[in-house]
C-alpha cells in the first residue's frame, strides 16, 4: 500500500465517522467553557461600564490592557493581544518549542491543570476512536465506543506518560545539550552578525519539530498496534511501532508529512479568512466564532485522520517474512510472554 492510498482510505474512514469528530469538538468546547465563562465575567468586570467597552469592540485598547495586566493573576493573565488572528496558533507553537507546555512558571496553574485533564481524557477517548476506526464497517454506538475507551485506557495511559516523558527529556536534557553544542561552534560563538546564530536557532527549531513529529508518529503506531493486534504489553507495541517505522521508513514518513502538510494548509486558510471580518457586531462575532470552530473541527478531523490513515497503512502494508523477522528481533527482549491478540475485533 502506498502512503497516498492510506491517506485516502484513512480520510474516508474519518469522514464516514464524522460523528466522532463532532463529539470530540463538543468535549473540547466543554473543557474550554470551564475557563471561558469565568473569563467572560473577568473581562466584563474589567471593562466595567466604562468607555473601554466601546474601544474594545472597535479595536484593542492598549491602555486598558496595561491596567488589566497589572491587576489580574491566574488564568486571566493569559489574555494578551497576541491571541488575535494567527497569534492564537503561533503562541502555542512557541509554548511547545520553548518547553513551556508543562511548565507551571510560564503557564497559569488552572490552565495547566485543565490541559493535563484534557490530555488524560484524550488518552481515554483514543481507545474508542481507534476501536471505531479498526472496525470501520461496524455501526457506531456510544456503547462500543466507551467500551473500547475503557478497554485500552490503562495501556494508552502508560503510552501517554512515556510520550510526555520523552518530551520532557528532550526539553530538559537534549535541547540544553544541543544549545551548548551549537553555541560552542566557532561560527556561532564568534559571530559578529546575527545571521549565523539566527540560522542555527532555526536549525534547532527544525530538529525539534522533526523529533517531535517522530515521537508523535511512534506513539500513534504504538496505539494502533495495540488495538489492531490486541497487544497487552505496551512495550511490545512501542518496539513493534519502532520496527515498523524503520522497516517502512519512506511510507511512514511520507504519510505523516502529507498529513502535516494538510495541517499547514488549514492554518494558512484560517490565517487568510479570519482577518476578513472585523468583529464589532454581534453578527460578525458569531461568524468569526463559527470560522474558528470550523478550524477546530478540521484540526480534530486531521488528528483522527492521522490515526485512521496510519492504521490503514499498518494494516495494508504486506510485511514480508524477512521484515517480520526484523521487527520481531527489535521487540524480542520484551516479548517473552506476548502472543498476538486472541481475537481481532471486527
Amino acid at each position: 500500500m502506498k502512503a497516498l492510498s492510506a491517506l485516502k482510505i484513512g480520510s474516508g474512514i474519518t469522514t464516514r465517522k464524522f460523528g466522532i469528530v463532532i463529539f470530540l469538538l463538543i468535549i473540547n468546547i466543554i473543557f474550554v467553557l470551564v475557563l471561558s465563562i469565568p473569563m467572560f465575567y473577568t473581562l466584563q468586570d474589567s471593562f466595567g461600564d466604562s468607555k473601554v467597552s466601546e474601544n474594545m469592540l472597535e479595536g484593542f485598547d492598549t491602555l486598558w490592557y496595561g491596567e488589566f495586566r497589572n491587576e489580574v493573576s491566574g488564568f486571566a493573565s493569559s489574555f494578551s493581544p497576541s491571541i488575535m488572528g494567527i497569534g492564537a496558533i503561533l503562541n502555542n507553537f512557541v509554548s511547545i518549542e520553548s518547553g513551556n507546555l508543562f511548565n507551571i512558571r510560564s503557564i497559569p496553574g488552572t490552565i495547566l491543570i485543565l490541559g493535563l485533564l484534557y490530555l488524560l481524557f484524550g488518552s481515554f477517548l483514543n481507545g474508542g476512536i481507534l476501536g471505531a476506526f479498526n472496525s470501520p464497517e461496524r455501526k457506531f454506538s456510544f456503547g462500543n465506543f466507551f467500551e473500547d475507551c475503557g478497554k485500552y485506557f490503562i495501556r494508552f495511559l502508560f503510552l501517554m506518560i512515556i510520550a510526555v516523558a520523552c518530551y520532557v527529556v528532550l526539553q530538559r536534557f537534549f535541547f540544553p545539550w544541543l544549545n551548548s553544542a551549537f553555541s560552542s561552534l566557532g561560527w556561532v560563538k564568534n559571530a559578529t552578525e546575527e545571521k549565523i546564530p539566527f540560522l542555527f536557532d532555526r536549525l534547532k527549531n527544525f530538529i525539534f519539530v522533526i523529533i517531535l513529529f517522530f515521537i508523535g508518529m511512534l506513539f500513534d503506531y504504538a496505539k494502533i498496534i495495540t488495538v489492531v493486534e490486541q497487544r497487552r504489553n505496551i512495550i511490545v507495541s512501542f518496539f513493534r511501532s519502532l520496527g515498523f517505522i524503520f522497516v517502512h521508513i519512506i511510507k511512514t514518513f511520507s504519510l505523516y508529512y502529507f498529513l502535516v502538510f494538510i495541517g499547514i494548509i488549514f492554518i494558512a486558510l484560517y490565517t487568510y479568512i479570519e482577518p476578513l471580518f472585523t468583529t464589532n457586531t454581534l453578527r460578525n462575532i458569531g461568524i468569526v466564532f463559527g470560522i474558528q470552530q470550523v478550524y477546530i473541527i478540521l484540526k480534530i478531523w486531521l488528528k483522527c485522520t492521522f490515526f485512521s490513515s496510519q492504521m490503514s497503512l499498518y494494516k495494508g502494508v504486506v510485511v514480508s517474512p524477512e521484515e517480520e523477522e526484523l521487527i520481531t528481533r527489535t521487540v524480542e527482549p520484551f516479548a517473552i510472554k506476548e502472543e498476538p491478540g486472541e481475537s481481532k475485533s471486527l
Binding site: N28, K51, L63, G115
Partner: protein, 683 residues
Amino acid sequence: MRLKFVFLFLIMTTFLYPKLLHGQPPVCEHIANYKMDVELFPEKKTVEGSEMLTWLNDSYYYVDELYFHLYMNAFKNNKSSMMRERGRPLKKDIKPIELGYCDIISMKVLESDYMEEADITATIEFVQPDDDNKDDQTVIRVKLPRVVPPNGEIQLVIDFVTKLPRTIRRSGYYQDYFFMAQWFPKIGVFWDGRWNCHQYHARSEFFADYGIYDVNITVPSDYIVGATGEKRTAIENPNGTITYNFFQESVHDFAWTACEDYIEVFDECPLPSGGVDITLLIMPEHEKQSERYLTATKHAIKYYSEWYGEYPYSTVTVIDPAYRSEADGMEYPTIFTGRTNWIESPKGVLRPESVTVHEFGHGYWYGLIGNNEFEDAWLDEGFTSFSESEVLETAYGPNLFSLRYFGFPVAFPDVKYEQRFTGLNGYRRIAKQDIMQRNAWEYMTSSSYDVNAYDKPELMLRTLKNYLGKEVFDNIMKTYSLRWWYKHPKPQDFFEVVGEVSGQDMNWFFDQFVYGSDVLDYSIDRISSRLEPDSIGILTKWGRDFVEEETAQEEEEAKIEPDTTLKTEEVEEKEEKEKIYTSEVLVRRLGEVKMPVEIQVNFDNGETINESWDGQYKWKKFIYKKPAKIKSAVVDPEHKYVLDINYTNNSKIVKEDNKAPLKWTSKWMFWLQNFLELFAFFS
C-alpha cells in the same frame, strides 16, 4: 528707582531674553580641552597614547587638586562599584584579556603663569566620593604643585594605556569590532565650589565640562572609523596604519569606534543655516535597513531643530553596532549607536526608528544641555524620552505591537501603542517605589531607575504640556533648551523657565511629581438618573393654605369628565419629554495627587455639559434636573493627564450590551481550544 530697575529686568527676562536666545545661537565656554594622539592595537586590545588637557578654572575658588574619571577601571575586577551594583557578576573563568582598565603612565603639569612644570604622577590616589568602596578605582585625585586661581588655566600632559574589555556596558572589543566610550582619563567638573566627579555606577551615566576635542586616531588601515566630530584628515602611515584627525568644539565627551566590517553610508540633512552631514556605519547584514536609520535621523534633526533650537554641529554619526557588542542604543556627542535585527521589523513597528530618534535626542538633552546625569538622570532621559515620542508621533504615528515567532517578526495591526502613553505601563507598576529626584545609582532597583529616569518624567512633561497648552509648553521647552546649551542646569532651572514662560507658579505640580511619589487617579464613581418623583406633602408657604388649595382642586377635578380615549403615541412621547429626571455624577479622587480636572457629561438627548473641578477634596457630586437621562460621564475627557494610573475608571456609560467581553472571550476561547489540542498531541 530700584523698583523700576527690577521691573525692567523682569520685562527683559520674560520677553526679550528668550527672543534674543531664539535668534542667536548660544556661545560655549570651553573649559576642558583635549588634544589627543592615540593608537588602537587590535591584537593587544589596547588604545595607547597621550592627551594634552587644557583646563580653565571658571569658578570663584582657588583649586589645588584635580579629580579625574578612570571609567575603564570599573571593568578591572569584580569588586568595583559597577560590578557590585550590576546584577550579573563577572564570570569566574574570565580571561585577563577580557578585563578592562585605564593605566596612567605619567601625568605632568606644564609650566604656565601660575604653575611650574612638575610630574604629579606620584600624587595620584584613588578616591570613592559616592560609596566608600575602597576597591573602586574609577576616580582619582591629584595634587597640584600650586593653586589655580579663578579664571586661571593650566595644561597637563597625560600618557595612558587603556585596556579595552570584552564589550561590556557598550564599550570594549568583540572580534574585530571596537567601541571606545569612557576610555580616556577625563577631568571631573569643578562645580559649586567642589569637584563633582562620581564613580562609575551600574545605573548612571555621566557629567563633564564642555571643551574642544582635537584627536588623532591611528588604526590599521583596513579599519573603518567613526567618531565624535568632523573627520578632518586621513594620513596613511608606512607601517600599514592610518591616522585620522577628528575635531569638534563645544562638546563634553569624545567616543569612537573602529571595525573592519562597517559599510559607510553618507547622507545629509538641510537646515536653515547650512546642513548636517550624516554618516551611517552599518553592519553588512543590516545594509538594506540603511534607509530606515537615515530617515529616522533626518526626522530627528528636523524636528529637534524646529522645536529646541537648530542643531549646531556639522556632523552626526550613526553606528549600527556589531551583534553581541552589548551596545544597543547609546549617545555620545555627535555620535550614537542604534540597534536592529537581521530580519527587519515590518512597517509600523518602529525598530530601528525609535532607538535612533531617542539617541539622537540625547544630543540635545545630554549633549547640548549638559545636565548632571549622575544626580538628575531624569533631566536627560526623561526629556529625551518625551521628545522621542513627540518626534515619532509626528513622523510615524503609533507603534504597532509585534512579537517574534521563531525569530520572525509578526505585527498586530489592530494593536497600536500610542506614543503619548509610552512608559505608562512601567510607571503604573512601581509608581510609588521611589522619588523621581534622586541620585541615579540610588534608586531601589533597575526598573525603578527606568521608571524614574525615563517613564515618569516623560509622562510628567506631557501632562504639563496638556495642562499649560501646546503653545506655552513649546515655548518653555525652546527657551529652556537654548538658555542652557553648553551649561549645567539643575531641575530648579527648568522649573524657573516653566514659571517664567507660563506666568504661573507651578511648584505645586513639581512638588507632587518630582519630589513626591504620590499618584494621580481620578475616577467617575457612578452615574445615575431617576425620575423626579411627584410631589408629596405640603409645598405651600403655610401649612393651612395647603388644605384650602387641596379642597378647591378636588372640587375642580370633579367637574371635568374623565378622558376614556386611549393615549396616542404622540401624547406618550410628549409626556416622556416632559418627564424630569434627576441625574447625578459622582467624581472621586482616588490618588493623592491633586490637580484641577474637567468632567464631560452626556445626556441621551444629545446635550453635553462640561464641568470643572479643582480636584482638591476627595470627591465631588454634580446634580442635574433635566428632561433627559444621563448617558455617560468622563473625567479628563481629552486624556490630558497621561500620568493618571487608571484611565479605565475615568469614564462611566449607561451600559448597552456585552458585545465587547463576548468578542474577546470568544477570541481567547479559540486560543485555549488550540492550546488544549496541543496537549492532546501527547495523548
